[in-house]
Symmetry: C2
Subunit: 338 residues, 2 copies
């Protein structure tokens, strides 16, 4: 059977369905942003692993290796933030084919170290291997969270507000822009890329940041989200995950989606719908979380957070509400093996 | 600069030299079999990551996917044992190209789950992604160890006995045998492989076991090794690592190396030196450890452990002593990017 005929999420469910957890130290296994392991009487250890393969997760024709290293750390550590935790240690394993030089590996690690320095994470291990083709990167982040601070995907309640950090779709538009320039330059090495005016989109694609600022601000404001999830795989699929775990439906209002004007500008040029980019584009290292409706003003006061909708009773399902009031059912788009 | 001109170990040193650990919870970062993280007042958390890439770490023309899954868990968990710890949780990330079906992924996970069941490890997370070519597997194992039980590479003392579990070189001979049959069958699909009589070598290559039995037996005998290391990368290179960390030299006696008679038998047939296979072949999921010289009889009483030599003063270096008393300097062989 083709993996694509199952889809990513059913494929993962199938692979992991027999994985029951029996160790007393395992609090939560597969099914949230990070696994939760007993640490001491006050806190949990959080673990999350990600894999980034050349040609799938990144294209080195337009991704500087230093940026790639930085981004891999951000991508992996985002799962710890999504549990309301603090990333503390990281392991990085790399596979390199013969076309990679020592200097190229240095550049990659410069980015990894820069991210570790910025977010106060210790690089404590990993593996190196040769590879038949291309660059493979696997990252595991270890974090911690106080037991009374942990936030799961499953804590959302009917009528809770759906909040999202930052803006959406820009990273996807950034990669579309880079791909356009790659095609334009194919065989025309002397021509400079036409990227001016869209630096924001490139920044979002090539140099995403970790939203530790939001996690800190929520804590300072005394707001503990009822549920939270990292949305780097796309807002639509992650909303569905949060709803499924919280046994809730959701309404997201299209005109509340935070989409940069640059997304609309480029979208018009290249014929890509910015709303689809925001819903399914992915690569936005932002957080989706829910808070009780009475925290509406407190959340907005923090800044950089948008309330895009609310949870509903589960039987209502998850839908996008357009300005004219019609509803479009949300559907997930995972990766598909090509 | 070519990575091969540096060699694996200097390459790793170069990549990780700036990786200083600053989190209070990081006890030990890079440089041992596993990273050591503070857990509670009595115990540490151990973390180790490994990457296995198709065409480098395994060849699917003769490796059943179920065996591969099992072996990846054993390989990764061995690093936890080498710290005298207990593996508890595991994350597995996989990248699959379009030639892999759902059933093939099922087989791989059947092996992963079988190993987790056998060794009482919880599969708690991971990642799945498509891949441009082949199968990529990244595993992180999380373990625990009591603070007074942890064993590092660096605790060996002059005159301590060098002990090794199991036998050496058989897994390397097993892969040589499989490669010979692969070549013989190339274009001759009707011919059955000539593997009879060498089942032990195949078993060592395709279905290695985790030496939890030895760790348990040492504990029961009240023996805490002074230093320990996993030798799946080869006895020679790992002895050098242990010596460097312990600030010691070593003498290994060639006629004490535990080498199966099957290694000599096949070695003769295919022209491979069994001693080189034992020293540098790798893929033996065994442990090298040191104990004070007065524990000689206690160690031998356990069974399945050979005393192959002893540590010396550091200025003596590390050497293999042949039966006629001459000394051959030990050299490391890591992987080289091809």
């Amino acid at each position: 059977m083709d993996i694509s005929s199952l889809g990513e999420f059913r494929f993962i469910d199938r692979l992991t369905e027999g994985a029951t957890c029996r160790k007393p130290s395992t609090v939560t296994g597969i099914g949230d942003d990070a696994a939760v392991i007993e640490r001491d009487s006050e806190s949990y250890t959080l673990i999350s692993s990600d894999m980034f393969l050349e040609g799938i997760a990144f294209d080195l024709t337009y991704t500087p290796l230093k940026h790639l290293g930085f981004k891999c750390v951000v991508a992996a550590a985002g799962d710890i933030l999504a549990m309301n935790g603090t990333p503390e240690q990281i392991t990085v394993s790399i596979g390199l084919s013969g076309r990679f030089t020592v200097e190229m590996a240095d550049e990659l690690y410069e980015g990894i170290r820069a991210a570790c320095d910025k977010y106060d994470i210790d690089l404590v291990g990993g593996d190196t291997t040769s590879s038949m083709t291309g660059l493979s990167i696997a990252v595991t982040v270890i974090g911690s969270v106080a037991k009374d601070k942990i936030v799961y995907r499953g804590g959302g309640k009917n009528s809770d507000l759906l909040c999202v950090t930052g803006d959406l779709g820009a990273a996807f538009m950034g990669v579309k822009l880079l791909e356009r320039e790659k095609r334009a330059l194919h065989g025309n090495d002397g021509v400079a890329p036409q990227l001016e005016g869209f630096e924001y989109l490139l920044e979002r694609q090539l140099h995403p940041l970790l939203r530790t600022d939001v996690i800190d601000a929520l804590a300072e404001s005394g707001i503990k989200p009822t549920a939270m999830i990292d949305i780097s795989d796309g807002l639509a699929s992650e909303t569905l995950h949060l709803c499924r775990r919280s046994n809730a439906g959701a309404r997201i209002y299209l005109d509340r989606l935070p989409i940069s004007s640059k997304c609309f500008e480029l979208g018009e040029q290249i014929g890509v719908d910015p709303v689809m980019a925001a819903l399914n584009g992915g690569d936005d290292y932002e957080l989706l979380f829910t808070v009780p409706v009475d925290r509406y003003e407190d959340v907005l006061r923090i800044g950089g957070i948008d309330v895009i909708g609310h949870l509903t009773a589960p039987e209502k399902g998850a839908a996008l509400v357009t300005p004219d009031g019609s509803e479009i059912r949300l559907t997930a788009q995972g990766w598909v093996v090509e």
